[in-house]
Symmetry: C2
Subunit: 429 residues, 2 copies
Amino acid sequence: MELKHVVIVGGGFAGLNAAKVLGNKKGVKVTLIDRRNHHLFQPLLYQVATAGLNPAEIAAPIRCILADKKNITVLQGEVTNVDLEQRQVFTEFGEFSYDYLILACGSKHSYFGNEKWEKDAPGLKTLEQATEIRRRILMAFEEAERVTDRNQQKQLLTFVIVGGGPTGVEMAGSISEMSRFTLERNFRNIDPKLTRVILVEAGTRILSSFSQSQSSKAMRDLETLGVQVWTSSPVTGVDADGVQIGKERIQANTVLWAAGVQASTLGKTLGVETDKQGRIVVAPDLSLTEHPEVFAAGDQAHFSDENSNPLPGLAPVALQQGRFIAKNIINELEGKQRVLFKYRDKGQMATIGRSKAVAEFKKLRVSGFIAWMGWLLIHVYYLTGLKNRIFVLMQWAWAYWTFRKGARLIMNREWRQHRVSRSSDSIPS
Amino acid sequence: MELKHVVIVGGGFAGLNAAKVLGNKKGVKVTLIDRRNHHLFQPLLYQVATAGLNPAEIAAPIRCILADKKNITVLQGEVTNVDLEQRQVFTEFGEFSYDYLILACGSKHSYFGNEKWEKDAPGLKTLEQATEIRRRILMAFEEAERVTDRNQQKQLLTFVIVGGGPTGVEMAGSISEMSRFTLERNFRNIDPKLTRVILVEAGTRILSSFSQSQSSKAMRDLETLGVQVWTSSPVTGVDADGVQIGKERIQANTVLWAAGVQASTLGKTLGVETDKQGRIVVAPDLSLTEHPEVFAAGDQAHFSDENSNPLPGLAPVALQQGRFIAKNIINELEGKQRVLFKYRDKGQMATIGRSKAVAEFKKLRVSGFIAWMGWLLIHVYYLTGLKNRIFVLMQWAWAYWTFRKGARLIMNREWRQHRVSRSSDSIPS
């Protein structure tokens, strides 16, 4: 019998886990297309941005993860558009016909129509952005050490993080820790402890998806770490020298964006129903109403739970949806009925700093060291690959005992400009 | 008594070791200026380029290495020029007067007047270049998996390394190993084992600084690994599709440059005697004949040994010269006579692949597993920082047992172009 061709667009939590379920299954061949060669473990990306982890420690080559799934071909490249009628996917390197299509292209940052803010306030979604943010943070300290003007120093040592969700909270806590512990004693002209880290949130409280109590606990923990939290402060302007919040103004050389996402643009090109964030509105089985052979998952899908609230853009949602779609396809090929998607709530967590975190699972609320330990173990457990688990654990253990950050590298964006080095290749004396 | 100000330009093996000796010494204050924030362990850079190690594992922040030397200020930035008469160093962020000046700016690649070749044949001197080379190597395999045209595939799977010195040999061996072991089973449309790795050397043999016997041993080892060695093959042209060697032509998408270096351009601006590679010709105490208060070291210095051959551009030379200069400065401040520099030959080594290396120390010649073990231990021993030693050893152990490479990441040069990702920040299910 002829093999059914499943095309998966995107190798994130949704796409990768769909592929894993379809791997080595009879009757299907799979093509997974991603613009990158690696699956990225997004929940730890902020640690790359704040010099805690190396890029390679939270990413793994997709084709390596799926190497043993002989019915899966992994291709790196960009999907340009989809013809739902002809059942074809078009890429920069040719087209593919499919019997089933899984769209899992994820999301990118939204500047709510102010895209021009991005160059002065980068978001954190990719490894490139993480290393660029790391470069900006570390360069700010280097420049502050060089300048003599006090105001200039103050501006260089001011870091504004826009958005009080988990990413914003984790970035703020991590930058503040770096300035207080890691960089201590490293400078002669500045005191890194004078760093101002300001977390700016438009809403009335940070971690708004958490309970009131957990949210205020997180706020107190951040303040203990020296982070200044500004709530009810919608940003009205961003430029190279800082942020504008209505009539208020913060002078800062480093502004980071952790507010708001929008789905990948591919969804909009399909001519199907999308919500205002560009997510594809899916049927209860995650398929497109008009096209039962096409599915959307993760950040690209708008799926409403029983209270008709759309599911949040969280890793567990993407992961469960990816697996679910794959199982449904297999069911169908075996002549079984499709089942409907039900999200098993895994709760949520955010870490604030060493030994500090908040976690909620249904009615259960934990914070402090236990929550932090739980956060740590769960993240290591779900990290892809034994080696990355070992290395990340070692990085954390090292950082915990030495108060040092592992990867304080400033790498320039333009590789060709910087060719001078100091010594050649041989045995060091 | 007034402190003498020593300015060191460059934080490589020469500059860093000079600083270490001057650290916390009475009577001197030191300013070390480097365009980067990190000291780079060049001898292992090829392993970053071939996905064996992470950038942060062979680099350490200079200000962190020197944190406890209270009399040393580390500044990141570019030295634009030097006024030898006024004893001033000019940088992009202001000038510094000095009592002593140590020039240790190292070297960069030389294309022998064909600088236009660089974009198609990058050299390996910085971390940026290493990650760019890694990107090119891995992208070549990704593209080969996508294309159907056999000739195109062949060209994509052909890697030419120009220059048969240690770096060229190590790159060639490492790429060949990756294609044979690491990437095996990762692809569906191509067989990575069909990769052609061609090492092109203008001279009559590779590793010309080694003895004839060691050089031919290395050549046989490379061939066992599947590397094709072309000697007496001076490259006459490089373009996006390959290299020209006189009348011969190799079609290759990836060409890497490991032939010839030239000293940093700063030396030329001083109006002192330089050799044809732009190295400053120094007196027997490594100072400038006209300016005993100015020293040059490492790849930037031309120092002739007793047989009046200039010392090679090796780490041990730079390291010994850096320490020597610092000690001479201290001698002088204590009213003692300056002594003359004598290079203690530490021999040379090159590794070809797993369990394969060649080493020479005076009359002693070692090869195979023992040489490889020696290479490994010496490099770990001289690596900066306990943590990097531990992590590099673990990377190597892991790669040795699993035949896998640790850091197969393709990161784009332009961070802003690539913002799409797949999942948000929270607990993975």
